[in-house]
């Protein structure tokens, strides 16, 4: 199939950037979206041009490294699918595809379509973990956890930290990501001792990183490749509120 690609090109973080048009005629519907970009880059290299930089790693939908806003939707048109798992059969011959980076002040563009998402790492470093020495692996059933609670923890833990929630939010808010990090530990006994502090510290780091404020659009939920529900945001608001009222410890 033939495609017209409009791709964001930006040489350096401080460059203004612009959309660049490319025609690609040898696209197979069985290619993944990233393989399609690989093909484009091979052509560009043969022509002696600068290949398009984009983020990727596992290409299995589990690492959270791939990104891209495709025709205005983070991770493209398929629901619950990362860009690396999106296939070209989701497009039609002759389609025009606009490809942009995740855009947020807290996700500065490094080059072309690659963005720096280390603000997410800094949020996690503020307490998105359990600080106890775990020693050897405990017996599987040594610490019983109810099925409902375990499922909720797993739902939140499905977050791969890709940042699509930020990219999709009209306000570039990171609430879905932060609430998933807070939520998966809030539903486990190991997360309880630091629960209040975790909510406060993650939220204040999120604010300091320059993300926008949630206005309950729920655009994040619609694009999340792991389908994390906005219920976790309500839970985080609850956790944060009770942490504040308890005096923050």
């Amino acid at each position: 199939m033939k495609l017209t690609l409009n791709i964001w090109r930006q040489k350096t973080p401080s460059d203004a950037g612009h959309m660049e048009r490319h025609e690609l005629s040898d696209v197979s519907p069985d290619m993944s979206f990233l393989e399609m970009l690989d093909v484009l880059n091979e052509h560009l290299q043969v022509e002696g041009k600068d290949p398009v930089a984009f983020d990727h790693d596992c290409r299995e939908g589990i690492c959270g490294m791939c990104s891209l806003v495709i025709n205005g939707t983070a991770h493209g048109p398929m629901k619950a699918t990362t860009t690396c798992q999106l296939h070209m059969r989701s497009f039609k011959d002759g389609d025009t595809v606009d490809i942009e980076p995740f855009r947020a002040k807290a996700f500065p563009v490094v080059k072309d379509l690659t963005v720096d998402r280390s603000s997410f790492d800094r949020i996690n470093e503020a307490g998105g973990f359990v600080s106890v020495n775990t020693g050897g692996a405990p017996d599987a059933n040594a610490l019983p956890i109810g099925k409902v609670e375990a499922d909720k923890a797993m739902d939140a833990a499905a977050c791969i930290g890709c940042g699509a929630c930020v990219a999709a939010c009209p306000n570039a808010s990171a609430m879905l990501f932060v609430s998933a990090k807070i939520g998966h530990l809030a539903h486990l006994p190991q997360g309880q001792p630091e629960r209040a502090r975790r909510a406060l510290n993650l939220v204040s780091t999120m604010d300091a990183e320059g993300f926008g404020n949630c206005r309950n659009y729920y655009e994040c939920e619609a694009v999340c490749p792991k389908e994390i529900p906005i219920d976790f945001i309500a839970e985080m608001n609850r956790d944060w509120r009770s942490s504040v009222l308890k005096g923050g410890s």
């Binding site: 205005g72 808010s173 923050g248």
Partner: protein, 231 residues
């Protein structure tokens, strides 16, 4: 106290204050509506109610100051948050679009500012008598009270005025269609079990506020009732 101030400065803290003041203002909207609907009971009822409010004296001012404080806080924080939101995405998308954001959620700042402008106009109209001064200057009723009933009937006999009011109330309803359910989410009172109920409640409140408020200007304009300006 420091932790509380820090909390109130954070994104979640300010959002919660916007939510709570919004809830308070919604309470006023309902009280205001309930009071005004007495226009359907006739001149005596509405004028007596208006006089009763004035007779509250100092108490009325306490209520007014509380209301003004909530209003100013709500607007100022919401605008501040909106400014931060714009700064959080310095480069716009070339290809924009939304997945599931409701029209109400996307127009909160616009509808909010329209409501703010309308409140100024509405106060100038029926409270200070600065806009369409002839409406306010209808005089007194037989008992020497300001003829609020006559003023309202005179005001809503003008199609242009009615059009403005209906448009403004539509803005308020759109604002509430998102605002009410948003309050629950922001305060952390939402959950999978309550979400459908909360969304429906939000829409129902928006509809009640719209229908209740437009019923008065429309009924008067269309002459659906024994409305007359003369005392």
């Amino acid at each position: 106290m420091n932790w509380l101030l820090a909390a109130l400065r954070s994104s979640l803290g300010r959002k919660m204050v916007v939510a709570l003041t919004g809830l308070g203002l919604l309470g006023f909207v309902f009280a205001h509506l309930a009071g005004n609907l007495q226009v359907f009971l006739g001149r005596e009822a509405l004028n007596a109610y208006a006089q009763g409010l004035k007779d509250l004296g100092a108490l009325l001012w306490v209520a007014r100051l509380g209301l003004i404080a909530m209003f100013v806080t709500h607007v100022a924080l919401a605008l501040q948050l909106a400014r931060e939101n714009r700064a959080a995405r310095p480069t716009r998308y070339v290809h924009g679009g939304v997945q599931q954001a409701s029209p109400g959620s996307r127009s909160m700042v616009f509808t909010g500012v329209m409501i703010l402008l309308f409140v100024a106009y509405h106060l100038a109209h029926f409270t200070f008598g600065a806009a369409h001064a002839s409406h306010y200057a209808v005089g007194s009723d037989a008992l020497g009270r300001h003829d609020v009933y006559g003023m309202v009937v005179a005001g809503f006999s003008e199609p242009l005025v009615v059009g403005l009011y209906v448009a403004a109330i539509a803005m308020l309803a759109l604002h509430l269609s998102h605002g009410v359910q948003s309050v629950f989410q922001t305060l952390g009172l939402n959950g999978p079990r309550y979400e459908p109920i909360i969304k429906r409640t939000g829409c129902a409140i928006a509809v009640i506020v719209f229908v209740g408020n437009v019923s008065m200007p429309l009924a008067i304009l269309m002459g659906l009732g024994p409305f007359s300006t003369g005392a």
